[in-house]
Symmetry: C3
Subunit: 403 residues, 3 copies
């Protein structure tokens, strides 16, 4: 009758037991100092490096970003598109945003023209190519391709170069020496960067709340790394100077510049302390031997009506310039129990190293290693231990066998 109750009590009792390792507590100055020192090193590493320096108690999240940019500025150039133009006035030309930002919008980048080679009013036809000379049509195999067009098989007597079918007249292949657009370093760009940390539902933007309603400040400010580090308007010349490059050199053949915006946000502090940090660096190689700098060709097309026929014409522009590419980096951290538990758990596991290290010291390097070994180990011999040598420790084994 009592049995079921006793079994029940027994099972419950068995469950509520506590197993804790038997510890050999060694009172020794030498090994004690060693042990505490190793422990201190490990604890310092875990707390100092992992928890404090690497903020191991924080959950982190990467940034989602959107950047838009708007360039402002005009320059006046002094060159002629039309060789028949006589008046000086005809050579003057104003360039505004629509003229020098090509394409008008890009995802995560913008381009500002600093130098151009313009080939106005080209039309499809046959004209002599520039460069390599020929003496007879045999030097110009029909159908072979040059940089600008397809050879017709004849050698042009006037220029001693092959005739090609191309957009005529072909672009003058000149190495630019100085930028056609003088003064582009005074252009300014307004940069708007919105970021979002999805895990923490935190939104920030580079136009800080304190300034966001202040139109007069935002209309007149200019970014300066120390004097005005949160103004969202940047002078191109300043950007290039901060990238440690020379604007007048870059303007000739163009460059690719990284426009880096960094957000390092500790959300355990006020969200107001989560601020953008700008930096700039040249990305392309200044000493490239092919395709140095950055340039590309584009054209404007139209059709003229000449007599009964319509003729398609174009103005070809080889644009050299600075391509600004946005890189937005950001990490936000906020206290969370999970990474703290993980890092503390890993730290505890590492503390085991101190015991392993000191065990090696007392069991292998100490004069009294036999004494420590006898205290640390309880030797037990199973029946199948036939291979074990009967040595001086067998007495202990035997003794412990029945302890």
């Amino acid at each position: 009758m009592v049995r079921p109750a006793r079994l029940m009590r027994s099972a419950v009792g068995r469950f509520f037991e506590y197993d804790t390792p038997k510890i050999v507590h060694i009172q020794s100055l030498h090994i004690g100092i060693t042990y505490r020192f190793v422990q201190l090193v490990i604890i310092s590493y875990v707390i100092g490096w992992v928890l404090v320096y690497k903020k191991g108690y924080q959950e982190t999240d990467n940034v989602e970003s959107s950047v838009t940019s708007k360039v402002k500025g005009v320059v006046l150039t002094n060159f002629t598109l039309d060789p028949n133009a006589t008046a000086d006035e005809e050579k003057l030309r104003v360039w505004d945003t629509a003229d020098y930002v090509i394409p008008p919008q890009e995802n995560g980048a913008f381009f500002v023209t600093t130098n151009i080679i313009m080939s106005p009013n080209q039309e499809q036809g046959i004209c002599p190519e520039l460069g390599a000379s020929c003496s007879t049509g045999f030097d110009c195999p029909s159908g072979s391709k040059s940089a600008n067009g397809v050879r017709t098989g004849t050698c042009n007597n006037a220029t001693s170069t092959c005739d090609i079918r191309a957009w005529c007249p072909v672009e003058k292949d000149v190495e630019p020496q100085s930028p056609v657009l003088q003064g582009t370093e005074d252009f300014t760009v307004l940069v708007k960067n919105q970021i979002f940390f999805p895990k923490f539902r935190v939104r920030r933007r580079n136009i800080l709340d304190g300034f966001a309603k202040n139109a007069s400040y935002l209309d007149s400010c200019l970014y300066h790394p120390s004097a005005d580090p949160f103004c969202p308007i940047f002078r191109l010349g300043d950007i290039i100077a901060l990238a440690q490059e020379n604007y007048s050199t870059i303007a000739v053949k163009g460059a690719v510049i990284g426009f880096v915006i960094e957000w390092e946000c500790n959300l355990d502090l006020s969200v107001e302390s989560c601020l953008p940090k700008y930096s700039f660096r040249r990305i392309d190689n200044a000493d490239d031997v092919i395709a140095k700098g950055w340039n590309f060709r584009y054209a404007n097309y139209w059709t003229d009506t000449v007599g009964r026929q319509s003729v398609q014409r174009r103005t070809l522009i080889k644009a050299y310039g600075i391509r600004f590419v946005f890189y937005v980096y950001g990490v936000a951290g906020k206290f969370n129990i999970v990474p703290l538990a993980t890092n503390l758990g890993a730290g505890l596991a590492l503390l085991g190293l101190a015991v392993i290290f000191c065990d090696i010291v007392i069991l292998y390097c100490s004069k009294r290693r036999q004494f420590y070994s006898d205290n640390k180990y309880l030797r037990v011999q199973d029946e199948d231990a036939v291979l074990f040598e009967e040595d001086d420790r067998s007495g202990h084994s035997g003794e412990n066998f029945f302890s």
Copy 2:
């Protein structure tokens, strides 16, 4: 003769030994309950949170994505480019994709014009600027720059503003009140998103296999978050509504909208359950005081022949509109032994906390702490333990010394 064999046997024997910690097994209801409870909390955390909720048994991989988009729709506008036009017909103008998607393709984004300010047939020349008034040429320093051009040094008598060298006539600087392109909310966009998880060699796309061959469905369907969540065709008005914005407000000055596609794939289940989830949100700030919304200027260039000279002309367009930026997020998880082992290992390490906690309880907080301490610790005193006080526990130490 026997020696080498014995040494060999001894070495092999030494190697095949097993070390297991001596455990103090405490039968106590109080500490047992505490121990099991702490263990339960840790195991629940490891299994419930780390393994089940955070899927700690899965290896994860980030998505590689490619998005292409194609906008469809036409609108009719009623305004005139040419002030000399008399007939009503001249004011009507149809806008198709080539007219309002600028540039025609972008990597990871697309732009739809909703409002424009057009400045047709501009040419380089001198004309009065708009805005700030002047009385004499001294108010217009020669060479100084205005928003649209460079001042010539004269004050225009007719307008009382500075004469500038610019693309003339200059753009009318008006704040848009209502969108010129009415009905752009009915445009649709076909979005194709291909994703790839390189670690698992799994490919998915937003046009699901079940629909991919069904041209009539794909020609006529329209995305709806609940009724048709996998149709790849989106009405612009619906997107803005789902982003909780008002289309007619946004259409006036433009906006930047995030087009978010999320893929959360548990590859332990069928790959068919790996489905896209769309969401939309406005990225730019609705209450910006400078450069509110989203707009940019671009121009179409051509050359007219006037007498013997050719004149370059352009139509400048300030385009307001909605810039849709794609954000594709995706994580795939699949069972893998490595993260499972890592998380179980970390879990085991954490279980050590239960012992540490209970040891603190029995050794420092229990009434019978001396009893537990005597059982848990085997005290050993080394010869250099000169600093240790001879206290009431020395008897135990001595006793254990030879145990």
Copy 3:
């Protein structure tokens, strides 16, 4: 007098103690082999998989990348834009980079036109739509929209289709059968990829230092996966072949091709061994039923002066072609003590599994389980252990109580 000194000595002494677990050392062939085998498996896993294969001793960093591209090549096409053209010559047209790379630059992608449908000299007006036929004006509700324009409400007698207000004449809706631009597979593209590992301050580029100064090599080389794997100039036809696609098929309706550049850098070795690896794959689906391949429409605009009025005209181009999208992946690893410590710590924790496993074997599966249990456990009974059954082990407990 002696007291304070003694207390001090005592406190210092208490601090410099060493606790090491008491170990039961079992000499048994069976359990020894089991133990060493499980240990071997865990150590092999930790060293072989985690440390060596997964390079668990390295800190890793993700790549920052910038890609620019420049396409070269010309093709000659033989078709007419102007139906009034009579001479054969008028049909020949050369296409250069400015003609077929649209837009001229994109961030992280480039597009090469392989096929076009051109609609020259369109102007706003009323003309019959193509496709769906009508018999009366009732079939053409005024204001309803077709693909190209807005219906006027009348049915055109000549074509039996609705009249629409649109850019006239409307684009011919033909399925392209063969590419208009023949020979685009011979175009080459120069790709410049600069990468940066911010944590390690390491910069690399795909034009290797050994070649960077060798202009003649860079002008003439051509990428080949085995013969010339580091040449930065790629033939489009080769790219498509390496993506296992057929160029002449793709050229008809276009495609999206992933241009993958992988950098896997072991910075413990020489930085010179950190090299790019190119691969290519088609991203869009070859068997899509809607919007197959890749195409988009763009237009060139100009204004003609007809009498007193100016007429805006455009040439609409539907461009089919190959969109190359760059994907740059890169991971750099370098020896660091932190991940090594973390992985070793986790490995040590895992070694505890061997003890747990063997304890289960000897305590539950062994014939001599009672013998092992008696040796491993020191049973201690607290006063509140009222629930515990007095069983055959009580003798041991009692005995141990005072041990």
